[in-house]
Symmetry: D2
Subunit: 335 residues, 4 copies
Amino acid sequence: MPNIAVLGCGRIGRMHAANVAAHPRAALAGVFDVHRTAADEVAGTHGVPSFESAEAVLASRDVDAILIATSTSTHADFIEQAVAAGRPILCEKPIDLSLDRVNRCAAAIGETRLPIMLGFVRRFDPGHRATRSAIQAGDIGDLHQVVITSRDPGMAPAAYIEVSGGIFRDMTIHDFDMARFMLGEEPITVSATGSRLVDPALMTRCGDYDTVTVVLTTASGKQCIINNSRQAAYGYDQRVEALGTRGMVISENRKPHQATRFSAEFTSRGVPYLNFFIERYAEAFNAEIGAFVDAVESGTAPEVGFEDGRLALVLAEAALKSVAEGRTIRISEIG
Amino acid sequence: MPNIAVLGCGRIGRMHAANVAAHPRAALAGVFDVHRTAADEVAGTHGVPSFESAEAVLASRDVDAILIATSTSTHADFIEQAVAAGRPILCEKPIDLSLDRVNRCAAAIGETRLPIMLGFVRRFDPGHRATRSAIQAGDIGDLHQVVITSRDPGMAPAAYIEVSGGIFRDMTIHDFDMARFMLGEEPITVSATGSRLVDPALMTRCGDYDTVTVVLTTASGKQCIINNSRQAAYGYDQRVEALGTRGMVISENRKPHQATRFSAEFTSRGVPYLNFFIERYAEAFNAEIGAFVDAVESGTAPEVGFEDGRLALVLAEAALKSVAEGRTIRISEIG
Amino acid sequence: MPNIAVLGCGRIGRMHAANVAAHPRAALAGVFDVHRTAADEVAGTHGVPSFESAEAVLASRDVDAILIATSTSTHADFIEQAVAAGRPILCEKPIDLSLDRVNRCAAAIGETRLPIMLGFVRRFDPGHRATRSAIQAGDIGDLHQVVITSRDPGMAPAAYIEVSGGIFRDMTIHDFDMARFMLGEEPITVSATGSRLVDPALMTRCGDYDTVTVVLTTASGKQCIINNSRQAAYGYDQRVEALGTRGMVISENRKPHQATRFSAEFTSRGVPYLNFFIERYAEAFNAEIGAFVDAVESGTAPEVGFEDGRLALVLAEAALKSVAEGRTIRISEIG
Amino acid sequence: MPNIAVLGCGRIGRMHAANVAAHPRAALAGVFDVHRTAADEVAGTHGVPSFESAEAVLASRDVDAILIATSTSTHADFIEQAVAAGRPILCEKPIDLSLDRVNRCAAAIGETRLPIMLGFVRRFDPGHRATRSAIQAGDIGDLHQVVITSRDPGMAPAAYIEVSGGIFRDMTIHDFDMARFMLGEEPITVSATGSRLVDPALMTRCGDYDTVTVVLTTASGKQCIINNSRQAAYGYDQRVEALGTRGMVISENRKPHQATRFSAEFTSRGVPYLNFFIERYAEAFNAEIGAFVDAVESGTAPEVGFEDGRLALVLAEAALKSVAEGRTIRISEIG
């Protein structure tokens, strides 16, 4: 049962710490955050050490593996340090906003055989996973089209958006990984369209988009359509649809319960969807910890690794270039 | 292509006349109503004769068959007259409110081989029919329970309720027939419960109930549960559920279209159900005409006949007795 | 944060022990089972004491409250002992199979102000709870009918059935409580129908039924229809429907995920329902622990208490009598 | 009540003739087809004249309006002739495969005030129409994204594909019109992606695609995503989704009935969708006739006219150019 230390005690770090602590096959070794009070609070809740520094975490004999949930700009550094310290890693996405930095990180960690897992949590969602299993089992024949609908319930704060790296690197990155997960072939072209509709002023100021569509194709012609919006009034919208020669599978949204109302004005009115990612992907975050424990215990490569993180970023770069140039970009054009 | 005359030009008679007129395999021979202006109007719309009397209809060489959609109290008389005149009959339910009168009618028409079809239209609904077909095909194994939910959108006018014969003879009668259609075995016991909730004053005055539950059992122990209400604010509610050893089939309600809304307050909000029977069972009323034409042309017994009408009334009598005596009634106790 | 000891380490006891251990507001004080190895195993998993006897549990200063998950025949004894020891109780249903024993237990514990909570877990299901909240909020106007569909996925082992006390005391008991929860008024009449369809030989041998329908009415005429089957091939079926003057609410079944398939033969094919009660009511079992902790910490009466357990058994007795005598039973006829 | 003559007695012409004949507000004046036996058969069924030539139709005093359902290459000619003859027109889409020919036709008919209606039947579908009404009523706030899923049940015969003008002019043309109907603003850019997956050999031979995605944007940045496939094993897939600032509306597919099955392997299994356009859009084809009658009787412009047909073809041209050049095309680049 590995002792896992969590770096970062923000919203997602706290969630991971609680999941590790409650996990039947893992233990929480301690936490660290540059905001010491945040770390102390989480440590107190779970009765584990609050480390003074990331170095102290990596130096501790009681830490078998680390989970990186700090701010994005620190991910690559911590990955390099953890590899140097011989600790398996579960790192939140993205590895870095800069593809160049990611490539240097890849060079730095070289041929390490340490498990390095990327936090593309949606791969562990029961519905999305069942969809992929159906594809792999041949239930829908040969895959032709994947449609990913992925919309946040509402615009993040301006302060967040400003440093997010833009919608493709911050939000669509999950969908790029989902596209690769479903397609079973690497995309070779990217065509993207961006609009400023939710908060045009903020988007213009940041050179960003809040409403985007991306079309990916593979060498065999398979298509994946991603549509994103920073604002879905009806809640966090996370759907995946796969069309093949013999049928279709749709992974639909989830509601907190199945009570529906009927009145003179409407029928079958359901409650809003689970909101936000911590609720929607609660089971997935738990399964992710389990998959990481598997990798740590077996010493084998995790299902979703460093290169998956890098390839998703390559797709984000291509999408940016596509919007800027108004043309379809071949992946081979990207570093 | 039989020429069918319609007796009765009220709401349901007008609908039948239009259906017969538009039917590719039938022709409208003319109409009759004691309210001559009503008949003239319908006749004018379709360019057919408005007969002076029912006798004139039955005497006409241009009339091959008759459809009885007059008030209930005249049904048995017209059946007897039409049989005497050698005309196949499609008669709206119920045959009569009095089981005694129905039995006398049965005696009067004797062993006639003329097709006499009862207007239990729900048997022709595509969803209900698919449910019964699934049962008969063994899709759900041996049938154990049938649950019929049947609720009107709103209370009928007091003037109608007063002469309706009560909820069991007027409204549940359709469900009694549906129960027999689904069960595939005759019910042998009836247990009924009646409440006065929608309009207690009216119900008390009429000695009637507006909210009832009936439980039927067959000799082999199959159960059918019927629940009725005179008022479903969300619209005409018509569901049938069948449970068997290997599964279940549910025939769900239908909406005019499948556009659904999503907002901050709700998800998947559908529009109200089709309302009322003329809209909800539009396809069924059409299919009913087709089935009648089949019977007329082949001279064979229709799928749902006089005895089906009589047996539904027997169940209604048993339900009334059950409510009155607070006990389960055996069908053999009813005349 | 109360230390809760769990009595009984069978399937449901083990689940409760795990829930208490993982609960953020409760701690597992230890476990006991007459099968010592079962208790030791559960104790080992959670690193808590395995008590030698129930007496030892109640004598322990480290035990603030107890959760009774032993076999039914011991419930009343343990309730009396725990009350004598001054420990709040969460007891699995039913209190006892004998109404007489329950009444004696009630007398024995007298006017105790100790929280005694009954494990009618379905009250804590998010969907059922939202349904009741909608009723109480007036969303559907005045309540007229409640329809409870409650079917087990498959027949329990004969050994279990033989000592279960029969379907009304063992299975319908949950639905009797749900009926009371939804109706908001006490039922005053019970009419029940029982069939032997799933395993006629076993049912005949035990004098039991495997397929039953129960109709309850309240003084104001509200109706509740319960339909039960010991076998639903498509999984554990747990639905609640409430009809009122202004609309309807339905608490529908839940599936493990929302991936659905479409093919040449079908559309929208979902995966089977969550199966069995431990999966279906996982959130409810957790919320139940939370509600118990609330009662223990505040010292107030839990939402569902001893008298609720007793009244559900009264309804079961009435149902048995109704089937036996073929008539509607008034609750006032039952002890 | 206008007398409408139908030109063309193929599958869709026969359907239109039957709809006109059965329509309560229209009469069938006769039919014409270059295959005289086809025309005679349809004329016989409805008891109307089978005209010798299109000229004879337009010369007949008994013909108030014409419905053009002949092969595409004749549409523009018949439009010009009917305008010359002063007869209102309902013409099946597309006007012509050549934008140049359409522009010449526009010039030829000039400023005519005769009602010329284009057969974009999907605008009359109750669900799609309710979706647009919700948008227009502001139910979803400001519109941001429209997603149109439009897939045929199976590949048309090679002989048809070869002369179809390609998927964008033949199939997507309906979706281009639907996009304009929903967006409420003209698209100004088109980005299209085409794949050959269903029948690569045929597609390569024809220089066509069977699986396409098109992204349209308007001046204000609204996006519309269209995804098409020539093959959906589960049936004709016709969905429209509209996302706005305050919510979403989805117009879902329709099934012939709502009976669903449940078994040990699945839940809520529905029957396949209505198949093909004649069944799926039956109500819409009828409503289209009604809208045409309105235009004929009032002499005003129909809701969907010649220019709508031309603009849909412009979008098809832009999509073709986008696939060929791998870039986003501005509508202003197209003639």
